[in-house]
């Protein structure tokens, strides 16, 4: 059996040396995300000023896929408007469902490294944990 792996360098690197795994001071938004079946958990923190995500971070515990995916997501959305983050998150979910075009995957930059997860149903929930939490956060923000 071939030991093909989506544990590529992008994923292992973000897992071992995350850029955004820490607390930030005075976050505007904090939301916990959990995968009850496997115990992955993250707490996502964002700072939003004038509709722009000016800073963000996460803390948590879980598999490399869940942790790296959250780190990659933050790298992508920091500095972007909330609406853009929402759009990118939708693109990511599209990619995980194997429905995204090559151009769309390119827009996701490093998150494109998680494309192969779409063939691993058991790991999809790990990959989307951070994004799902982000979506919920934005939804709550919209309702305010």
């Amino acid at each position: 059996m071939e030991n093909k792996t989506f544990y590529n360098e992008v994923v292992t690197d973000h897992n071992m040396h995350p850029l955004h795994k820490h607390e930030i001071t005075d976050p505007d938004l904090v939301l916990d995300g959990v995968n009850p079946s496997c115990g992955d958990e993250i707490s996502l923190q964002l700072k939003v000023i004038g509709g722009i995500i000016t800073d963000g971070s996460f803390v948590g515990d879980g598999c490399a896929v869940s942790q790296a995916s959250a780190d990659i997501m933050l790298e992508l959305i920091i500095g972007k408007p909330v609406d853009e983050a929402k759009r990118l998150s939708a693109l990511f979910l599209k990619m995980i469902k194997s429905e995204a075009t090559e151009e769309e995957i390119e827009e996701l930059e490093e998150a494109g490294a998680l494309e192969d997860i779409s063939h691993m149903p058991a790991r999809v929930k790990c990959a989307v944990l951070g994004w799902r939490t982000l979506d919920e956060m934005i939804e709550r923000l919209d309702k305010k």
């Binding site: 030991n3 292992t12 879980g62």
Partner: protein, 406 residues
């Protein structure tokens, strides 16, 4: 012995695939004699048992009751009336907790539950204790899973009504000395319920020798199909217990204003029963008896020893519980330094090595040991040295694949 194992392996269709199936504590694969027996039952003897007076229904009843007698003999129970068929050990423990506690537990009473119990041997007791305003008293083994006399003495009191304890921990693999513990529990005036899910498939369990009051186990962990399990109980205790589920087949007479329930064990088996599963369990017991405990235990020891010594030689691997292979009944739970267990199990899985990752339905034990989740490798007698070596080989690559040591 290795040649014999090769012969037995041929009886397991699934083992012919190119995988190393090392998740036997979760469920075992099924041999042809079991699969054939179930198929033959459905082809030749299937009818709703107990109901029909025609020959076919009588045959189905006979097959079911034969399985009960076979199971009773297997664990050296007094007789078939000590055996209640259920879906699995979880259902057995739920039946017991609901029914026994419902009838016998009072406010202020204590139930002793060890911290290493499977959620199935914790949550039903916890639920009933809360309902009855009784107290759950936690029994903590040492970090190797050992329960000392002192530990036991500290939790037993005149308020203790029942002790719920596993014979083999599904995480630590440790065998508890039930015979000794049961004696102490009885001396304290309490009952002991033994979770045999991980022991009955791997060693001779004799309820008379252990002197346990209840024993629960699942068929699917001992080569039988999923959906058949056993609650053993002392006859007088089962007789005194109320039914757990109500419905067809568990009554003698039902009138609008008065009901008489069936005798033990039928009063606990409402609805159409799982004859096919019971026939499979019957065949699985025959299979285990034909293989023999000597071969089963020796082979599992050989494999456990080989795995644990190999893991000791692999950098970045730590084993939970005792470091001595003799303390592991075919179950070894471990961590790979810096790698989340799900990633480890995923990487091994891609290489065809099936191991379990997660909390193994024993989160209180995970908390107690200070870990969130772990990987577990568990053996059956049909596993081979080659499979252990394949596991070790793939395990040694995990840290590298996750970017360590580059």
């Amino acid at each position: 012995m290795r040649e014999k194992v090769q012969e037995y392996r041929k009886l397991f269709p699934l083992l012919s695939k190119d995988i190393a199936y090392l998740d036997n504590a979760a469920t075992t694969q099924k041999p042809l004699p079991v699969l054939d027996a179930v198929r033959k039952y459905y082809e030749e003897d299937n009818a709703n048992p107990f109901r029909g007076v025609y020959d076919l229904s009588e045959r189905a009843t006979e097959r079911y009751e034969n399985a009960r007698a076979k199971t009773a003999a297997f664990i050296n129970a007094d007789g078939p009336e000590n055996i209640v068929f259920v879906r699995n050990a979880s259902e057995a423990l739920n039946l017991l907790a609901y029914s026994w506690c419902g009838d016998n537990l009072n406010e202020g009473d204590e139930i002793v539950v060890s911290v290493m119990e499977h959620h199935s041997d914790f949550l039903p007791w916890k639920h009933m204790a809360e309902k009855k305003k009784a107290r759950i008293v936690r029994l903590d083994p040492d970090e190797n899973g050992y329960i000392s006399d002192e530990t036991l003495d500290n939790v037993l009191s005149e308020k203790t009504r029942i002790v719920a304890l596993t014979q083999v921990s599904n995480v630590l693999g440790r065998v508890n000395d039930i015979k000794h513990i049961a004696e102490k529990v009885h001396r304290a005036g309490a009952l002991i319920s033994v979770d045999g899910a991980q022991s009955v498939p791997h060693m001779k369990v004799d309820v008379k020798d252990l002197d346990c009051d209840f024993l629960s186990f699942s068929g699917h962990k001992m080569f039988a199909p999923m959906g058949i399990g056993v609650l053993y109980g002392r006859k007088e205790l089962l007789d005194a217990m109320s039914p757990f589920m109500y419905g067809g087949e568990m009554i003698q007479t039902v009138h609008w204003d008065r009901v008489t329930y069936a005798e033990t064990p039928h009063k606990f088996e409402a609805g159409t029963v799982n004859v096919g599963g019971a026939v499979g369990l019957d065949a699985a017991i025959d299979f285990i008896n034909s293989v023999g405990w000597e071969l089963i235990e020796t082979r599992e020891e050989v494999l456990t020893k080989r795995a644990m010594l190999g893991m000791k030689d692999t950098s970045g691997i730590s084993v939970l519980g005792s470091g001595d292979w003799k303390d592991h009944k075919g179950i070894v739970t471990f961590l790979v330094d810096g790698v989340h267990p799900h990633d480890t199990a995923d990487i091994l899985g891609r290489a065809g090595v099936c191991v379990r990752a997660g909390h193994h339905c024993a989160q209180p034990l995970m908390d107690y040991l200070g870990v969130k989740s772990t990987c577990r490798v568990s053996f059956a007698f049909y596993n081979t040295e080659e499979e252990v070596d394949r596991f070790l080989e793939e395990l040694s690559k995990v840290r590298g694949l996750m970017g360590y040591g580059k």
